[in-house]
């Protein structure tokens, strides 16, 4: 894991999160101006809740929730949360890694109702389980589909 870059240590969002929980941020990086924070898997829901409700930060809008498969690296899956603050007009990207043995993370449907289909889509296409999701079932693929199409080891074309 990358240590916190010096220029980012002073970032107000990071300082707020450090105050909220000292181990809540694993690393922080900035690429082309976009701030990305890596969060431990166990903390992701709590961090989202904090960022949403803390009045001075107010990341009140969930823009997107998706997953990236880093096969064959481990931990293999990376969940990516794009948050937006309508008040400060800032964007923030949160990432958390889950392993292929235990692809499971806490659901954030309790914070944003809109996360429901995002999480169902990730379950459908990557096979990640969301603890606390009200009704986790496939979204795009047929109900009885085998396998998870967006995984990197899933073939692009099947037998014809």
């Amino acid at each position: 894991m990358m240590p916190l870059a010096d220029e980012l240590k002073e970032h107000p969002i990071l300082q707020k999160l450090q105050a909220f929980h000292p181990q809540s941020v694993v690393s922080a990086s900035r690429f082309r101006g976009e701030l990305t924070l890596a969060i431990p898997r166990e903390q992701i829901r709590a961090v989202c809740e904090f960022l949403k409700q803390e009045p001075e930060v107010q990341f009140d809008f969930l823009t997107d929730l998706t997953c990236v498969d880093h096969y064959p690296a481990e931990p293999r899956f990376e969940l990516v949360y794009h948050l937006l603050s309508l008040t400060s007009r800032e964007r923030l990207r949160l990432k958390t890694r889950v392993t292929s043995e235990n692809p499971r993370v806490d659901s954030i449907t309790g914070l944003w109702g809109g996360a429901n289909w995002f999480e169902r889509e990730i379950f459908d296409l990557f096979g990640i389980q969301f603890t606390g999701h009200p009704h986790l079932r496939r979204l795009l693929m047929p109900d009885d589909w085998q396998g998870y199409p967006l995984r990197k080891d899933y073939p692009l074309e099947g037998p014809r």
Partner: protein, 398 residues
């Protein structure tokens, strides 16, 4: 064992009605399972995926430049907006500076795309509520917009006109006169639609107070774009987080507090007028200069140079056969699409193909919120509500 459609079994007192996936008023292959008590909807469950074509998976196996035509097919009513969103994300990873002329052309065409999208929306929504003539008028104007697209790109719908680093070609000279004529004519056509609908008693009765999306629910369900503005939230990415030089254009963002079908109609009507304003400014202030960024090895060289310079020909050959490899990184540049915030989250691993190309679909969220909007309404209003949120199933299912 697959899970059932519902978390709980429908009660024996209610009737389950299956709307779609083959139903004219679902605007494509959308299935909505309605649980009815008499004529009142008690539960609505949208079921999607009938048009899933794996666009994100396909994109991972193509060169960056080859993904552009795929983005046309995501939301086929707003193909240029999708082109723009994808190009902006890749350009950000590459660190490319797009020349002003290309940015202005992008703004001009993105606004024509918005008009095109809203015309289809208005026509089909009115058709759903029995005002068939509106559809005929809006499709007449839409045809003009599609001809403009054809003029610049050679295609009416699958344009692929915006390319990474700029636009594909210099538009033909007739294009500017045709756009000018369209922009002169179009506001009077919007007045025509207004005369047909805005104070029409039947239209008011069918749309006012129907399908109220409160500000709280809209934010909870990640709704963006015109639907969010019709719920009283003043949020437009063209103003709040400008891209492609939108900060240099003068326009107004319409906001309506009511959140009902009528508010969503009013917002889109005004947006069409504002789009004309922006397009007019883009047309008149169009700067001179190149239409593609100067980035050898990434952007295709000019065709003229290719015919006279060996170096340019080799470059062209290399880019087409091997692609180009952006630095390792990721970018998400959302834009204000006609249906809401659309953006491509592109992850680069330093190879010529995107490692991940996630499409943030506004249509998906607009469909998801139906489960919140429909309950409590009569069955006949479901048609108005489904039509009013505006989605394209190609984008919902991708």
């Amino acid at each position: 064992m697959p899970k059932p459609l519902y978390p709980t079994v429908p009660s024996a007192e209610t009737l389950v009605l299956n709307v779609g996936p083959q139903h004219p008023s679902t605007h494509g292959v959308l299935r909505v399972v309605l649980e009815l008590d008499g004529e009142t909807i008690v539960r609505a469950t949208p079921d999607i995926g009938f048009l899933h074509t794996g666009i994100e998976k396909t994109a991972e196996n193509l060169f960056y430049s080859q993904v552009v035509p795929l983005t046309d097919r995501v939301d086929y009513l707003a193909s240029l907006s999708n082109n723009l969103a994808y190009c902006l994300s890749v350009e950000k990873i590459l660190g490319l500076e797009v020349p002003p002329r290309a940015q202005w052309l992008r703004v001009l065409l993105a606004e024509l795309t918005r008009i095109n999208n809203h015309l289809v929306w208005l026509g089909t929504t009115a058709l759903e509520l029995g005002a068939m003539s509106v559809l005929l008028y809006t499709f007449r104007e839409r045809e003009d917009v599609l001809r403009l697209f054809e003029l610049v790109s050679g295609q009416r719908m699958m344009t692929s006109y915006f390319r990474i680093g700029g636009v594909a070609l210099e538009p033909p000279l007739t294009f500017y006169d045709r756009v000018d004529a369209f922009l002169k004519m179009f506001p009077s056509r919007v007045d025509e639609y207004k005369d047909l609908l805005t104070e029409n008693r039947i239209w008011l009765a069918r749309t006012r107070g129907i399908g109220v999306l409160t500000k709280e629910v809209a934010l909870d369900y990640c709704i963006s774009g015109p639907n969010l503005r019709a719920s009283g939230v003043n949020w437009d990415l063209r103003k709040c987080q400008p891209y492609s030089s939108y900060e240099k254009f003068d326009f107004r963002v319409p906001v309506e507090p009511a959140g009902d079908v009528y508010a969503r109609y009013l917002v889109r009507m005004e947006e069409m007028r504002q789009s004309v304003r922006i397009a007019r400014q883009a047309l008149e202030g169009l700067p001179a200069g190149p239409i593609r960024a100067d980035a050898p090895g990434v952007i295709l060289p000019d065709r003229e140079k290719m015919k006279s310079q060996m170096e340019a020909l080799i470059q062209h050959f290399k880019i087409v056969t091997d692609g180009f490899a952006p630095p390792v990184g990721e970018a998400y540049v959302p834009i204000e699409g006609p249906k809401g915030e659309i953006g491509f989250y592109v992850v680069s691993d330093g190879s010529p193909r995107p490692w991940r190309c996630r499409i943030r679909p506004p249509s998906l969220l607009n469909v998801q919120v139906l489960s919140k909007l429909l309950p409590g309404h009569m069955l006949a209003d479901a048609i108005a509500i489904i039509a009013s949120v505006d989605f394209v199933l190609g984008e919902v299912d991708r």
